[in-house]
């Protein structure tokens, strides 16, 4: 990567992080940096090593090899100091069902040494913020998955951590709560400079939040960077949608293909999907069609999303290397 931050700008650094269990190697030679205030989407199929990575970064598991620094501290040597600066939302919420929502938060606050009054006020604000104020004094045992997730998220944020590790923060939430939580996570990073490591299978959500993405597979870092950078490595060209009001016929497609810089043309319901050299080609395409009397309602560049990049990586892993340009307009 071209960007080389100074050490002070980094919230997380890993160098060759490796961990093996009796069942096999969970994380293998993991090296990446995360800037302060950045949201990193940590992606990969189940068993890719995401949870093991988070546990090593938070000093819960020790690496067999390699080093890490989180908030400037070594999680192996100063695990408790690291954990004071981090907040973790585990995949299964991890609330004690026999306690109330408020008691769960109060317990975490006491362990973290928050003054009682501050903790109570903060817990009240967060439970209210995530729509759990009315249920704050109910035992967790009757809560839905979404309710548990919201309480656990409030617990993770209770001490305003510098670094947040969020594992599936929106699983089980209804659409309104999902939107709310996504907005809140985004604001934590963009407005408060908090660093967020986001593990999720909801790629649309990751795409909205993440500045960069790391894709793990069998514990190895398969790809790391912004979706744009990764897309540039995966595909040469830019996808675009052409709205013609109707499917592009053979004549129209032939006319488009004659424009210099057009790599591919595929008919769609209301026009065509193109793969072009760059965005400067699109006005040429529109001009050629207008000149031929074809009505053009819109020409929309469609940069690859995080989701496109992820699935392309998955597809390339599963299949032999594709021919040049293949799959870019998918």
């Amino acid at each position: 990567m071209a960007w080389q931050p100074s050490a002070g700008e980094l919230a997380i650094e890993t160098r060759g992080l490796t961990r093996t269990f009796p069942s096999g190697r969970a994380v293998d030679d993991l090296t990446f940096d995360v800037r302060r205030g950045e949201v990193l989407a940590l992606l990969g199929p189940n068993g890719a090593g995401k949870t093991t990575t988070i546990r090593m970064l938070n000093g819960v598991l020790a690496p067999d090899a390699g080093t890490a620094r989180v908030a400037g501290l070594d999680p192996v040597a100063a695990g408790d100091e690291v954990r004071r600066r981090t907040g973790v939302l585990t995949e299964n919420a991890g609330l004690d069902e026999r306690l109330t929502a408020r008691e769960n938060l109060a317990f975490a606050a006491r362990i973290r040494g928050l003054p009682t009054g501050v903790a109570a006020e903060r817990a009240g604000v967060l439970l209210e913020r995530f729509g759990m104020a009315a249920d704050a004094d109910r035992q967790v045992t009757g809560f839905s998955t979404g309710q548990r997730k919201r309480v656990a998220l409030a617990r993770a944020l209770l001490h305003d951590p510098e670094v947040l590790f969020l594992d599936e923060p929106t699983s089980g939430l209804d659409p309104a709560a999902t939107r709310d939580v996504v907005a809140h996570i985004g604001a934590l990073a963009s407005e408060h400079g908090r660093t967020v490591i986001l593990c999720t299978h909801f790629l649309g959500e990751a795409g909205k939040l993440a500045d960069r993405m790391a894709v793990l597979h069998h514990g190895r870092l398969e790809a790391f960077g912004t979706p744009e950078d990764l897309a540039a490595d995966l595909w040469s060209g830019l996808a675009a949608d052409l709205d013609l009001g109707t499917t592009a016929g053979p004549d129209v497609r032939a006319r488009i293909e004659r424009v210099a810089g057009v790599h591919e043309v595929h008919p769609t319901v209301d026009g065509a999907a193109l793969l072009v050299r760059d965005r400067e080609v699109l006005p040429e395409v529109v001009a050629a069609l207008v000149q031929a009397g074809v009505r053009v309602y819109a020409s929309t560049p469609r940069p690859p999303t995080l989701e496109d990049v992820y699935f392309e990586l998955e597809a390339r892993r599963a299949a032999p290397p594709p021919a040049p340009h293949e799959g870019a307009a998918a």
């Binding site: 501290l73 954990r83 026999r98 306690l99 040494g113 003054p115 903790a119």
Partner: protein
């Protein structure tokens, strides 16, 4: 949209955590676990029922029966005991021998079941229960040294076991003295040996139950599984205790102390081994 950052507690920085903060964290874990246990009928009911049956109902029923049959001779039974061992009973008036033998000596072994059972049940809940409830991982992500977490879990199981045992003994002594009063016209419990048993042997037995369950819980996935595995170890210990405790009450004080010390040594060895294995890494690797 945004939420203001809270003020962090004094000392929350790079400086080592102060001893008071660590103590507060240990207290927080103990308080949390005991609150949770109090709300769990599956844990509380056996913890209360067994002591009530063993330490109140049984001595009451047997004591009443014994008090109402003072003429029954226990000399044959006492005669089978080693010479000198039965002297404290045979030296009593004949009408007192039956009630003292039963409530003062024969029921005594059952008393040791209480600290053993309660510490084992609570330890299983505190250690394996965290895995079962899927709360272990979130606990491990909190800033608390492994040693403090282990200590908190030990206290969670040990102190209630002691409290219930001692309160149970007070109830037992009250019931036993009350039912024996018509025959004896005096308080006969606690004896010196009973005091050794209550204050020295019973805590050792509780610690032993704890030590066993700490080891067992490391392998078990649920509290129930831990109880089953632990039962395989603890039940023979219970029978051994029952077999030996009567003798314990009939031996000299130094021997009783020595037996307690042996139990303590075994319990502390088990706990120390458990503590060495109680690390975040080993726990998280099994989550």
């Amino acid at each position: 949209m945004s939420i203001a950052a809270p003020e962090l507690a004094p000392g929350l920085g790079t400086a080592p955590r102060r001893r008071r903060e660590r103590f507060d964290a240990i207290r927080a874990v103990v308080a949390k676990d005991l609150t949770a246990v109090r709300r769990s009928k599956a844990v509380v009911l056996p913890m209360l029922l067994v002591p009530v049956l063993l330490l109140i109902v049984l001595p009451l029923v047997i004591g009443l029966m014994a008090s109402n049959s003072p003429a029954v001779s226990v000399e044959d039974f006492l005669g089978r005991l080693p010479a000198g061992v039965a002297d404290p009973i045979t030296s009593l008036p004949r009408e007192e021998q039956m009630v003292v033998l039963i409530n003062g000596y024969l029921l005594a072994p059952l008393f040791l079941i209480v600290p053993l059972m309660i510490s084992a049940v609570l330890a299983a809940d505190a250690f394996a229960g965290e895995k079962e409830r899927k709360t272990l991982e979130s606990l491990l992500h909190l800033p608390m040294p492994d040693r403090d977490l282990f200590l908190a879990k030990l206290i969670t199981a040990f102190l209630p076991a002691l409290a219930v045992s001692w309160i149970g003994f007070l109830c037992f002594a009250t019931v036993a003295n009350t039912v024996a009063w018509p025959v004896m016209h005096r308080l006969f419990l606690p004896t010196k040996l009973w005091m050794v048993m209550i204050l020295w042997v019973a805590p050792a037995v509780a610690a032993l139950g704890l030590g066993v369950m700490v080891r067992v819980s490391a392998r078990a996935r649920t509290a129930q599984e831990a109880n089953q595995l632990g039962g395989a170890v603890i039940l023979p210990l219970i029978f051994l205790a029952m077999g030996q405790a009567t003798g314990l009450l009939l031996v000299d004080l130094p021997v009783a102390f020595a037996i307690g010390a042996g139990l303590w040594a075994l319990a502390l060895w088990l706990i120390a081994r458990g503590a060495r294995r109680f690390t975040r890494d080993s726990l998280a690797a099994k989550v």
